[in-house]
Symmetry: C2
Subunit: 318 residues, 2 copies
């Protein structure tokens, strides 16, 4: 049986190895204390990671669950162009969960934290009927430079990093009962938050709007359209497909954790940033000219509205 106090002591001990100098006080008091650089503002994001909703113990190793959990938060920091500083983990665990699972989860989470100099600086633990993790990531960005969802303008081009649909393709195999070997490069098991790309775009003021692809291209692009008051048209033949996926999964599959951004037509967008391919996939249009937020130009030359069919937790149970 996992004891609350010994679990906190375990987490505190291993968290000491992930250090960021912005953290003045980590685990061990009522609050953590962080000091931002002068002229910087704070970014905060929180993401739930629940057993049988966001992962399955039979499919995802404990280390992969820990990695995925932190990636969700880091990817949100990347989508603002920010620099992550610290994370906070609220963990609800079944009383009969093996200690080895907890160890693996923390190992996966903290390996990723160390890679980006993110300090585990606090959290909470409790018993719970199923594994319940809520990850909070705080980061910083110079005053007024965060890239919002609301800055896309008609005429801007739409870009994505990497390739899409890989994570959903893996999930489809798992649902079909097929064995999938989890590799460190698998976007479903070990997704990479695009922090270097997001930081580059912010620093060079290249992106007019940005979001991370967690729910799927069709849903996440609609968020940019809604917040910016614009429409978008996607070119189906430009969308970069991951290996072993298909077009529908690339459009609607979630959890790719790539970045989707817009940039003015005149912006010089490199074809690769920090080793990651950048692909132009569409264009921002006037919202009033279209009946729905997103249109897609199919290979047959026809333009059709694209429905939003990405991940919606309450709409279906996984």
């Amino acid at each position: 049986m996992i004891k609350e106090r010994s679990l906190i002591q375990q987490i505190r001990r291993i968290a000491a190895s992930s250090v960021n100098k912005a953290v003045k006080k980590g685990i061990g008091d009522d609050c953590a204390i962080l000091r931002l650089k002068p002229g910087f503002e704070l970014l905060v994001t929180t993401d739930l990671c629940l057993e049988d909703v966001h992962f399955r113990r039979a499919w995802h190793s404990a280390a992969a669950v820990g990695h995925r959990c932190l990636t969700r938060g880091l990817s949100d920091i990347a989508a603002m162009g920010g620099e992550p500083l610290a994370c906070f983990l609220s963990l609800g665990l079944p009383a009969d969960l093996p200690q080895a699972w907890v160890n693996g989860f923390l190992r996966g989470l903290l390996a990723l934290a160390r890679r980006y100099k993110v300090q585990l600086a606090g959290g909470d633990v409790s018993s719970a009927p199923q594994i319940t993790a809520d990850i909070v990531v705080s980061g910083q960005v110079p005053y007024g430079t965060a890239v919002l969802r609301s800055g896309a303008r008609p005429g801007d081009r739409v870009y994505v990093t990497g390739a899409l649909g890989g994570s959903a393709a893996t999930l489809k195999e798992l649902f079909a009962g097929n064995a999938v070997k989890p590799t460190k490069s698998s976007s479903n098991f070990y997704p990479t938050p695009r922090l270097e790309v997001g930081g580059y775009l912010r620093k060079h003021r290249l992106a007019s709007a940005m979001i991370d692809l967690s729910d799927g291209l069709s849903v996440d692009l609609s968020h940019i359209c809604d917040e910016s008051g614009v429409a978008a048209i996607l070119m189906s033949n430009k969308i970069p497909l991951a290996k072993s996926t298909d077009f529908e999964l690339a459009l609607h599959g979630g959890e790719d954790y790539e970045l989707l951004f817009t940039a003015s037509k005149s912006a010089k967008i490199p074809s690769r940033i920090a080793g990651v391919a950048i692909t132009e996939i569409g264009e921002i249009r006037n919202r009033r000219d279209y009946s729905s937020a997103i249109q897609i130009l199919r290979d047959n030359g026809k333009v059709r509205p694209l429905p939003q069919r990405g991940w919606q937790h309450f709409a279906r149970e996984r």
Copy 2:
């Protein structure tokens, strides 16, 4: 059935009524953006609030659950002497939960948020087998002035705010199957975070160490002792008892959300701060002179070690 997108829209709409000017960007982007006052550092705390662990639907109204949930976080900010700025709510909900419950929960949480000018600035929603809430509160405090658990020194006096054991007494009645009328002044249903007291103590540099009483006096005082490397002696006849409680519940019952602090012998501690009674209950001693962290001077004049028997989630299921 609760839909994820409409739930987010509902929360975003009603959260707009709780405004704090530190929040530059609230709900509606990948991260919230907060700007601290120059010369201030950031406080962050996270607290889980889980059905059947921290509350029961049969005992606690939805509004009381929302209030209690935010109190947990605000009380941690109070215990550092901080000023709360924003909160973030991660919410996992069963698919069959009535919308009325969600409305009541948000009403209770946001009424408390407005009272302290705390803006609901972000979060996450998901489906979950049981009601799962994780509340994050961020606040600020001038550089280097946060009151830690680690500052208690031998000779310091030990103080508490308010009266103890009231929340546990209510819980005991509920466990016994007795009806308890939830009033707005009940510490179990509507606990008050002691933000004014914590802020006063910090501003006047009166407290050497501070913690909030969430797990119970015996456990929370042991945290101050452990972090400060000291022991403490409590005077049993000085401990302020809430109405209808007993001495054991005052020592070991959790969820009072009063503040426990230490101050040098020479510090002038008012008998009331912001209308709340302050009571001296003990003294800090050298740790090496005692076999355990906390001793208690009983009415019979005998000094005995006080075991830690407060709330420990993994030790027992409520």
